[in-house]
Symmetry: C2
Subunit: 315 residues, 2 copies
């Protein structure tokens, strides 16, 4: 089968063997999405060799339970052991022995087929298009903010960053009815926020120490700096982006102001699918381009451009 391959920070499109399903499901990929983490992998953020890609929608080709065959599905990316202390505590996405689809020890979805345990599959409701369903994983990650932080209707919430993930986080934060403003960097980001009815504010007009919750979704030191300056004492700072390398922080103000910092990663698929099915969140306008898998390298170049939105691959 055709697959994108990452090795020594180099991407190539190759012909590799279709994975054998073993006791798992084999899914024929219909669409996969390029995520910031894919770009980071290529920069050597994790030492990963194999097929990247963890955002996908596909159709089950093989599975131990026949009822799955032919179903349109999306899949959770953490393959947990189910037995370790972390799993038993109810945090399988943090399983110490986990593999992570297209990120840690498990070939991913930028390929014609992907192998995945049936326990990780979710059926896509009929009314959800492939173009929307392919956003399930990042939308779930955006929803994780609401799993972790209680955002009240009266809260003032600032979103710093309106990139691929930031756009989804903004749409999720808007569900809370809180007083939400977003800081965007690029014109296109601003347009897409406006399309979702999310009001914006310039970073230098966001004021100082006056937001109850600030969600940092840029992954840049300047974004983190803005987030810190705008957050009120006793406020909550959500880190919704991974940071490349070390960041130098003056921790004293965090202690004096009794700030809570919450790191946020993967989230729940079921409510993400429900938000897509009800149309309460429509991610489709975030699609910037769509490439055949054979042109994946070109697709990555498009995805890496500053301000780029979601780029999809079609096997």
């Amino acid at each position: 089968m055709k697959a994108l391959w990452l090795e020594d920070r180099e991407l190539s499109v190759r012909d590799i063997e279709v994975p054998s399903a073993g006791g798992e499901a084999l899914v024929r990929v219909r669409l996969s999405g390029i995520c910031g983490t894919d770009l980071e992998l290529r920069r050597g953020y994790y030492p990963y060799t194999g097929v990247p890609g963890h955002e996908f929608v596909g159709e089950v080709a093989e599975a131990p339970e026949p009822s799955w065959i032919g179903r349109r599905v999306v899949g959770e990316i953490n393959d947990a052991c189910g037995a370790c202390a972390t799993c038993r505590r109810g945090h399988p996405t943090h399983c110490e022995r986990r593999t992570v689809l297209g990120i840690v020890g498990h070939d991913g979805a930028h390929a014609e087929y992907v192998r995945i345990p049936t326990a990780n599959l979710h059926r896509v409701p009929d009314g959800v298009t492939d173009e929307a369903a392919v956003f399930t994983e990042p939308l779930a990650a955006a929803l994780e903010v609401l799993e972790q932080v209680h955002i009240r209707p009266g809260d003032r919430v600032l979103l710093v960053g309106a990139g691929r993930l930031g756009q989804l986080v903004g749409r999720v934060l808007a569900l809370t009815g809180a007083h939400l403003r977003a800081v965007a960097r690029y014109e296109r980001q601003a347009e897409l926020l406006a399309l979702a009815g999310i009001e914006q504010i310039a970073g230098d007009e966001a004021g100082e120490r006056c937001w109850d919750v600030v969600v940092e979704a840029t992954g840049s030191p300047s974004g983190l700096d803005l987030a810190r300056r705008t957050l009120r004492p006793r406020g909550t700072l959500v880190l919704k982006s991974t940071y490349h390398g070390e960041v130098t922080l003056d921790l004293a103000p965090f202690v004096v102001d009794e700030i809570t910092i919450v790191g946020s990663r993967c989230g729940p698929f079921a409510p993400a699918l429900e938000l897509l099915a009800t149309g309460r969140i429509d991610p489709v306008p975030l699609i910037e381009a769509r490439y055949p898998l054979a042109s994946a390298l070109e697709a990555f170049e498009a995805a890496v451009r500053p301000g780029a939105m979601k780029v999809l691959l079609e096997p």
Copy 2:
């Protein structure tokens, strides 16, 4: 009156005028305690000029309400405006216009008299000795951890640091019934933990990624590093110490492991006094030495020695 004076990072004992009470209370100080923050002030951590000292027990000499006169009291250190958004939100200890006793814009308690609003006073119950009452402020700060973080009886809690504040934090954490271990650096710290029935563990035996809550009370980069390594994914890291200067952190693991970091500072006086009154916490063994105010410089030298416990001043 005799008072300790800080100016340009230099301490001296001076004769200054007794402050006029104005509409506030004038308290004759019976004992004051030297805190890590006092030592930081001298190192230039905050640009403060005036009388330092914010831990004290005294007797009201003057007050607008006669019922206060002669009462033995301790005092909250943040003088809040009561009118700003932060105060109205119920966080007076974070008031943006606040002064802080002996730290920001308000002469402190290493003196014969200290001026303080009556709203900040708490009566010391009769059964609480001066030697115990002088710990009310740091004990309240230790209690703030329980105000901020829900520690469950089944939690594994690691305390990193057993200095002046760490000892009190350990005693407070022990109240929860959680599985508590403390990492001490000095023999004397270990003895004082043992006296309070707090079990210890060597930092290099604390394991990796296995503690639900880690309280960092050293204020050192090495303590922070140990705290981070020992905390489990989705765990809570409490920063109970101010950090001197900038700290370089790799934030990515905090995001991947969805860690919550909680900065923690001043806490509630009333429960602190109650714990002292009931004897559930006895801080008196933490007193290392007691000096007359006239020998305050010598007292500071004693307090700055590595592993030093509480040093008191007596006007």
